[in-house]
Amino acid sequence: MHQPTITQAKHQLLEKKYSAVELLDAVYKRIDAVDGKVKAYIHLTRDLAHQQAEEADKKLAAGEDAPLLGVPIALKDLICMKDTHTTCASHILENFVSPYDATVVKRLKEAGAVLIGKTNMDEFAMGSSNENSYFHVTKNPWDLNRVPGGSSGGSGAAVAANECMGALGSDTGGSIRQPAAFCGITGLKPTYGRVSRFGLVAFASSFDQIGPMTKTAEDAAILMNVIGGHDPMDSTSANVPLPDFTAALSKDVKGLKVGIPKEYFGKGLDSDVEKAVQEAIKTLESMGMQAVEVSLPHTEYAVATYYILACAEASANLSRYDGVKYGYRSKHADNLMDMYTNTREEGFGEEVKRRILLGTFVLSSGYYDAYYLKGQKARTLIKQDFEEAYKKCDVMAGPIAPVPAFKLGEKLDDPLQMYLSDIFTISANLAGIPAMSIPCGQSKDNLPIGLQLMGKHFDEETLLNVAHRYQHTTDHHLNHPTL
């Protein structure tokens, strides 16, 4: 019973094949059976989820309906849910209990979702492997010796291992799409401003975006209908109409132009990944789409630009962790300055410190123009690349990551190599466009490979439409790991 998609679970709950409580029990039974190996979760919210499932059953019995009524959903542990822990996988927030709901959580609750737990991640969403969690390392359900990707690796692994029907992640430089690719699931980073960030612990505020991680594009559309839309509590939330994403799924994709960015193919791209992505492009053509070559000439500068700007924003955002109002405080301090420095030294992990230091440096007096301002100008050039490319196409397609899931520990001692593995996902965050990952094949080692689809600002509809039609034509998304 733990295998259904959100769409299937919805139907089966309405048909009374099982109750919301029975579905929840089956999901927790699955978690109890496999999470000792996968370690996707940091906290389970069994009691609250049970209450929500009972509530859903009452509503179902009364003939009520809501988009996610009785459906078990997991949350990445940087999204605040009232009266539960939100740790960001950091020692500094280890005991933090959120006093309020994030807007996305409020909307999930209103839609009848059953919120089952908080998933593991790289500390403060900084990382591409989940190895930067303070608590434990999440394993890839396809190969327990490999990383699930990051930073939303816990959400990716939980969906892939059938430990939830769907999950929310967040994506600052690829943190939804890369773990979705590594775990063989569907992940969507919406347009910047499409989903409220209120209650999302901030990493880099001009990049962060919450999005769905699911088994299918159809499920992603259902979640987007619930979590998307303007929110007065987030001043960067876009006040634009929210379309019905599920209505767009079945539209004909014939005649749509798919741009193939030539910079995304070539040196460094694993041959299995290239083969699977090229095969996927042929499938898109067989569906009636027209492939055209496009160019994103500043792609090689994306990683450098991103690490200047995202670290600068992170250094400012994380200055709030000072041991005064909430979170961890060092016990070793006789004066205020020691309290600040010891709290932050003991509370943050090494990757977080690395990024705070880099961000502080690029913003510091004498280096601001050379680094931060230069980065902002490079961001303009990268954004303009996309504007030019979209004159020739409706969506773009390419790889998510140069390689499939890598081995645990493989890149841990070389932060630059880890950063460079984000080369194909980072540009979408710099340009603010929506982008998604869908499974498009398996490597020789039976590891999933992700196809990246990128869209125009606020055009998640076309992305979800193409992804849904692709999943109608192929069955890569139906592959499951054996645990």
Binding site: Y100, Y192, P232, A304, T341, K353, L420
Partner: protein, 94 residues
Amino acid sequence: MSSDSFDIEKIAFLARLKLTEDEQTRLGRQFEGILQHIDQLNRLDTENVEPTSHVLPLQNVFREDEVKTIFEDGKYLPLAPRQDKDHYEVPQII
């Protein structure tokens, strides 16, 4: 731009981080590589390029200045590591 300019002790102080000697050495070495990579931006001619701070054409968001209860009273102070009655408690400042 040059990666030689990275004074890790000074930056750590600005960031209110107290690094161990071991961390200073290791992170310092890593920053050399990272900054060398970042320095490739020097190849870009950005003379007449406007900086992007935000991808959306955002404008200030205004609202009426009304008193509203957004956060429940009494929920926030108990989150502090140390508090005294209705105050946050910190080590001696002066």
